[in-house]
């Protein structure tokens, strides 16, 4: 009996009129936790009752404390008939269970009813007294902190990053055919809300146990999702990264604050990582089919169809992974946890060494009823299989880890697509084991290498490349090889040298599919998938080149399955990395060269494309000193060199460039127009309208090239549903509709937010779903942040200078010449190798230009590479050893690990007036310092109506509902004593309508971290004590020495 939960019901206000006769309400409240219920007195005839109840005390296990939500029901007393429910409030008391977080929940909560929405508010005070628990075999995991933030939370320091934790629980869905149900909708909605609340509590507890087992004290990058599998059940699954976090003592906590928001971002431990790079190596489906698994980077998993024991034709190919899976299952629990995955997207300085590229895997499954909820083996096995595949892809890239890892599903009827993706990377073992001194030396070296460009350097062996790619020497250090293009799923490291600004790049794609049942359907989908992946990739590549950029960050590819179509939507933020080569242009080639007018048309298109590239470069201020002539005026390569990208064939762009590698040419990215389809593609390339002036957009945390945010932020959610005309749908028409939908949505956003100019839409997150046959739903959540235009101009160069500064101090041990090169890379300086480059561009020499430019000779480089591999292997071992070791040694590192003794800090002052609560999908608040994390917010709501028209139609209904969801999130945060939600995400927004019956239903799942922030201006006194210039390096030093 380790906990006592105390609840007091204070008052209500704005209650609805429940008695038409008196226009008043006789309200009372039921407080329920587990199986215990208390009631307040009836407060007669008032819409603003003052109950002022006694403290209701529940004596409960901490296991229950974690699983169960506190349920508060407000009712209207009726003498003669049954009492009418006014609404409910579910309060997750988890934040009260660990120290440092909230100590009391107190405030006004909206009273929510699934049919009527918010109906007044209730003032509640909740406290928990935890007793020390000596039972070592306990089932609870109180004390483990959870963060949605996908980086080390500010005001914490990562002592050890243990690694991947995952869990899933399944249950029967209390209501799977909502619209045909006979029981009252309210009852089934509430059953569902309660069940999901319970399941996520249980899930969180189980994950917490795993973390404790690993001797960690926190989960960072916690992502919990629901799969509404309809008749086959309800799955709640979560992934995260177990860490041991140390709270920074208050002076240190302020250390990274410094003055400007930009600095804060730079200095914060989270955004610092010198890593990413990805390589866009997409492999053609044909390659996949031929089974050369090793060559896959951006891999498409050939779907396994598992249904009642019988395999499809493709199952044979899956033999490998399947066996691996079996092996996997027999492995010990400890090894099971050994997926070297990290859900983080930003890392402590020095954590990321190299980035290999995006790895992804998908698989199509047929859903089957979950027979035994206690043993969700099938679902576990599915995910294990996919993770195994991801792991092997990463290995093929010479990487031992996957960062920026995420998982998702798309379900339609009984077909489910499971997807996982991440970025293969080489990590610094320092954070994966206990902070021993031995790591330091190596780490030191590593850090030098990784400065600014290290993460771009290829982690794999050049002579044994896992996939064809075009390598050059790093444009920054001239020492290591880099790929021509990088794709990653993580955020841009703040110390990466970027030229110009970034921009949101999206690839959009639809494919029709025949309606089919079961196996046939699954087979059809799995056949389509590789083509979609390929096309999405091609689009991304084309658009990236059109923007004159060479790297993608935050790449997220979503494939959505519907009754009769598949949709693909990829979003990423394009940037120009100074370390990578200048991207080549796009060449258009006609297939029928004899036709004069056709030629003319082609050259016209070519000119348009070239103009667009030039315009984009200007727009995004991409002007690396050496490239302009080369790009714009690049002649069409000789036919022999020109590689063809045939649509029907599936060569990937990287293969193409690889073919050219021997010729030392890199700008041959050729689009061959051989049919109307391709024509349309080119057109669609050009139809993407850039945002109006004063607007920027990206889907990462911060916008490269902008670093002086002002404090105004506006988080929003926008939802659009379009109905396709069902007649003669073609792929083209579908693509156009979808493209228009997304473009128009963006245009609307720009228009709506025009008063905030200059501003940037950050963390733009698109979600596509296909709720019905002819409906496409797109949901966007993002935050608009204003910035100071004038300051922006002044400070664009400072990050470069700063990192230079840092590089020069750090690089003492390194050879001298990188240092020189570093200074050369400043845009203002003439860049010696430029000449070389131009030379090589014009000559047809077989030796890569960059190679000649530096004095390193090829063979020695190869040596280096192989020694590197050794290093990687070595590291891989140390990691394994490290993680075991940590299980023993962490105790001292995490004094709060058990969380049974609590810091009784002063209760947060609960404001009686409505305080402003900020919400943002980012992990920080511009111009402010987060001083405290109060706990995770994870809420699930259902709203249903049987009077759709009266509520303003579908738009009115959903608008009101989303506003209500925001309100409930804000109220919970305010009650915890917080004033903001960071890393906010709307994970699900499932909308169903039946206009004929005048009905609609919507399910929304949101999460985020409740925090307390302090405006930076209020902190000035503190931060001024710190010398601001050296802040960053001192931070780094601090990290190193611990």
């Amino acid at each position: 009996m380790p906990g006592k939960l105390k609840v007091k019901i204070v008052a209500g206000r704005h209650l609805p009129v429940m008695d038409r006769a008196s226009d008043l309400t006789d309200a009372f409240v039921e407080v329920k936790f587990g199986n215990t219920t208390f009631k307040t007195d009836v407060y007669l005839k008032s819409l603003n009752p003052q109950w002022n109840s006694e403290w209701f005390k529940f004596e409960v296990d901490d296991e229950d404390l974690q699983d169960e939500p506190l349920q508060i029901t407000v009712l209207d007393h009726d003498t003669y008939s049954a009492n009418d429910a006014i609404g409910k409030v579910y309060i997750d008391i988890d934040p009260l269970l660990y120290s440092e977080a909230a100590t009391v929940i107190s405030g006004w909560f909206p009273i929510y009813d699934t049919i009527h929405g918010i109906r007044g508010e209730i003032n509640v005070v909740v406290k928990v007294d935890l007793f020390n628990d000596l039972n070592r075999f306990r089932q609870s995991s109180c004390g483990v902190k959870f963060f949605c933030t996908t980086s080390i939370p500010k005001c914490y320091r990562a002592v050890i990053i243990h690694g991947f934790v995952e869990e899933l629980v399944v249950n029967e869905d209390p209501e799977y055919q909502w619209i045909d149900r006979i029981r009252t909708p309210r009852a089934s909605n509430e059953a569902r809300q309660r069940l999901i609340s319970l399941m996520s509590g249980e899930l969180q507890r189980k994950i917490g146990l795993k973390v404790l087992e690993m001797r960690g004290n926190a989960v960072v990058g916690y992502l919990q999702c629901f799969d509404l599998e309809g008749e086959s059940g309800l799955v709640v699954r979560a992934i995260g990264t177990a860490c041991t976090l140390d709270k920074l003592s208050s002076p240190a906590a302020f250390l990274p604050a410094c003055n400007s928001p930009s600095k804060e971002m730079k200095e914060s431990p989270l955004v610092h990582p010198p890593s990413h790079g990805c390589r866009s190596t997409h492999n053609s489906p044909i390659h996949t089919a031929t089974g050369s698994r090793l060559t896959q980077n951006f891999s498409v998993s050939v779907p396994t169809l598992i249904y009642t024991g019988m395999g499809s034709g493709s199952a044979g190919k899956e033999g490998g992974p399947f066996k691996a899976l079996l092996r996997q299952q027999t492995q010990s629990a400890l090894e099971q946890r050994e997926f070297p995955f990290f859900t983080l997207t930003a890392f402590p300085p020095g954590f990321l060494v190299h980035v290999g590229g995006v790895v992804s895997a998908r698989s199509v499954k047929l859903l089957d009823r979950i027979h035994n909820p206690d043993e969700p083996e099938t679902r576990d096995a599915w995910w294990a299989e996919i993770r195994q595949e991801i792991k092997s892809h990463a290995k093929a890239l010479g990487c031992h880890a996957v960062v920026g890892y995420s998982e998702s599903t798309s379900i339609c009827e009984e077909v489910c697509i499971l997807s996982a993706s991440g970025t293969a990377a080489v990590l610094n073992p320092r954070f994966l084991q206990d902070g021993t001194v031995e790591g330091c030396l190596e780490q030191r070296l590593e850090e030098n290498v990784s400065t600014r460009c290290g993460f771009c350097h290829i982690p794999y062996d050049e002579l044994n490349m896992p996939f064809p790619a075009h390598l050059t020497y790093c444009y920054n250090c001239r020492k290591q090889k880099v790929p021509d293009v990088l794709f990653t799923t993580i955020d841009l490291p703040t110390d990466a040298t970027v030229i110009g600004k970034g921009c949101l790049i999206q690839a959009r794609l639809c494919r029709l599919k025949k309606k089919a049942q079961a196996e046939a359907n699954a087979t059809a989908i799995s056949n389509l998938l590789p083509f979609m992946e390929y096309e999405v990739h091609t689009q991304l590549m084309n658009k990236l080149k059109l923007k004159g950029m060479n790297a993608l960050f935050g790449l997220r590819i979503q494939i959505t399955v519907g009754e009769n179509m598949l949709m693909g939507l990829a979003s990423a933020t394009g940037v120009y990395l100074a370390a990578l080569p200048t991207p080549g242009g796009i060449q258009i080639a006609g297939k029928t060269p004899n036709d004069g007018s056709y030629e003319q048309h082609i050259s016209h298109m070519q000119k348009k494309i070239n103009d667009t590239i030039a315009k984009n470069k200007e727009l995004y201020e991409i002007n690396p000193p050496e490239i302009s002539e080369e790009i714009i005026g690049s002649p069409i390569p000789e036919p022999r060199q020109r590689s063809r990208l045939l649509r029907s064939q599936s060569e990937s762009s990287d293969e193409v460039t690889e073919l050219d590698l021997s010729h030392g040419k890199k700008d041959a990215f050729v689009l061959e127009i051989d049919d109307t389809d391709a024509m349309e593609d080119v057109h669609s390339l050009l139809t993407d309208v850039p945002p109006p002036s004063g607007f920027y957009s990206c889907n990462t945390e911060i916008m490269p090239g902008i670093n002086n945010w002002t404090s105004e932020i506006q988080m929003f959610t926008s939802v659009r549903v379009i109905r396709l005309s069902s007649l003669n749908l073609t792929n083209q028409a579908l693509n156009k509709n979808f493209n228009d939908l997304c473009e128009n949505l963006l245009k609307s956003l720009y228009f709506k937010l025009r008063s905030m100019i200059p501003c940037c839409l950050c963390h733009v997150n698109f979600t596509v779903s296909l709720p019905e046959d002819e409906l496409i739903q797109v949901t966007v959540t993002a935050v608009a942040i204003t910035f100071d235009k004038n300051q922006a101009l002044q400070t664009t160069k400072t990050p470069v200078e700063k990192s230079l500064q840092r590089a020069s101090t750090d690089n003492e041990e390194l050879l001298q010449f990188p240092l020189e090169l570093c200074s050369d890379s400043l845009p203002s300086h003439p860049f010696p190798p430029v000449k070389e480059h131009l030379e090589s561009a014009s000559s047809n020499s077989g030796i890569p230009a960059a190679q000649r430019a530096t004095s390193v000779d090829y063979s020695s480089f190869a040596d280096r590479c192989s020694s590197w591999i050794e290093l990687i292997k070595l590291k891989a071992q140390t990691i394994r050893r490290g993680s075991i070791k940590t299980t023993v040694t962490v105790e001292k590192a995490s004094p709060v690990g058990d969380g049974n003794f609590r810091n009784r800090s002063a209760p947060p002052c609960a404001n009686s007036t409505v305080g402003v609560v900020k919400m943002t999908p980012l992990s920080f608040i511009p111009g402010a310092k987060i001083t405290k994390y109060l706990g995770i917010i994870n809420m699930f709501f259902i709203r249903e109506t049987t009077s759709l028209r009266e509520e303003g139609g579908v738009s009115g209904f959903l608008h009101a509902f989303i506003a209500e969801v925001f309100a409930m999130v804000r109220a919970h945060v305010a009650a915890l004593g917080g004033n903001a939600v960071v890393s906010y995400i709307m994970k699900q927004c499932v909308f169903m309508e039946n206009p004929n019956k005048n009905q609609a239903q919507c399910l929304i799942n949101v999460s985020g971290d409740a925090v307390v922030f302090v405006r930076e201006s209020d902190l000035e006194v503190v931060s001024s004590q710190q010398p601001t210039t050296n802040c960053q390096s001192s931070c780094t030093e601090g990290e190193v020495t611990t």
Binding site: H14, P110, K752, F991
Partner: protein, 364 residues
């Protein structure tokens, strides 16, 4: 491809002032979009008509949801659904309760009942204000009236407290409520030249001087005093006004009064002879208005009477405003020198207010 659903929800509720105005003015979404297009917004922002349509719909939906809260402004402040900065909340409320001069002149002094509401169609046609906007304004008047009707204490304060209006707007509403409660006739043709401002000015003076609240007679037993402090005229005062009749009924007093006024104003008034000739008529008019105020019917006609009995005669003789002021000042003051007249305080209470009103009403 048709848009089934299209919404935008911000954590901070976006309020577009221009669209809010269009909404308040009762334009349909289509009309509002057309008006916005005409304002040149498309050229300024490079947006398309579809974007504008979607944006307008969104704002209209938001306003529609906010309207329920605007009916009880304190709710807007305490509600949790829409996060709106305080300055914006104030703007929303103030604009919502703002009214059109043309409209208020039509309904001022009318009973705020269903019957009047039926006439809104005509008012809309006559004033060119959309019916929707007329309804909103009418409902605002009625709502404020209903809320403060039964309340004690200062009318302006009550309105401000319950509707969170600015001081200026609260005073206007006080006048509207006061007029509606006392049903003063303002629609007659000869009153058409008067603005709402003129009436509001008079209402304020009357509230300050002629109501129960004005004399600060807080009732000792709350139940015994059923009249509202600020909304109803002080019945006792109206009853007492009969005593003033002696000023015109007693011929000696009347003559003495006239001679006092004439003596004082001789040479100072451009229209002296006309004044001298008309003195008795004017005085009779003013005093008879007072004496008749015991009857509800005559209270309603107060402004008609004042215009008929005083404003029009003076205007026909082309009195300049300064002369009217001189005359009224002297006319009121001279009564103090009438030895036989015992109701000096009553006279001041009556004439002080009336003088202010008359001066305001005296214009073309």
């Amino acid at each position: 491809m048709t848009s089934e659903l299209d919404i935008f929800v911000g954590n901070t509720t976006l309020i577009d002032e221009d669209v809010y105005r269009l909404w308040l003015d009762g334009y349909s979404v289509t009309d509002a979009v057309a008006l916005r297009v005409r304002s040149g917004i498309l050229e300024q922002t490079g947006a398309t008509a579809a974007v504008l349509q979607s944006d307008t719909m969104d704002h209209y939906r938001t306003f529609h949801m906010l309207e329920r809260l605007l009916h009880a402004p304190p709710k807007l402040l305490h509600q949790l659904i829409f996060q709106i900065p305080p300055s914006r909340q104030a703007l929303l409320i103030e604009r919502y309760y703002a009214f059109d001069e043309a409209f208020v002149r039509e309904v001022l002094g009318k009973k705020l009942s269903k019957g009047t509401k039926k006439d809104l169609d005509d008012i809309s046609t006559k004033t060119g204000i959309t019916l929707k906007s007329c309804r909103r304004q009418f409902d605002n008047f009625k709502r404020v009236f209903k809320v403060v009707e039964e309340m004690r204490g200062s009318l302006v304060d009550n309105i401000q407290q319950h509707f969170l209006l600015s001081d200026r707007l609260a005073r206007d509403y006080a006048a509207i409520v006061f007029f509606a409660n006392n049903r003063f006739e303002t629609g007659k043709k000869k009153l058409q030249y008067l603005s709402f401002g003129d009436f509001a000015f008079c209402a304020e003076l009357m509230i300050q001087n002629w109501t129960l609240g004005a004399v600060g007679e807080a009732p000792i037993d709350p139940d015994s005093q059923m009249d509202d402090m600020d909304m109803d005229l002080d019945k006792e005062f109206l009853q007492d006004l009969k005593e003033l009749k002696v000023l015109v009924a007693d011929k000696d007093l009347l003559d003495l009064h006239k001679s006092l006024v004439c003596t004082a104003l001789r040479g100072k008034l451009g229209v002296f002879s006309e004044m001298e000739a008309n003195f008795k008529n004017l005085s009779r008019g003013l005093v008879n208005v007072a004496a008749k105020l015991t009857h509800n019917k005559d209270v309603r006609d107060l402004f008609v009477d004042l215009v008929e009995k005083f404003v029009e005669p003076c205007r026909s003789d082309h009195w300049p405003l300064s002369d009217v002021r001189f005359f009224l000042n002297q006319y009121s003051a001279s009564v103090h020198s009438l030895d036989g007249f015992r109701h000096q305080a009553l006279w001041d209470r009556y004439m002080g207010t009336l003088r202010g009103c008359l001066l305001r009403l005296y214009h073309d």
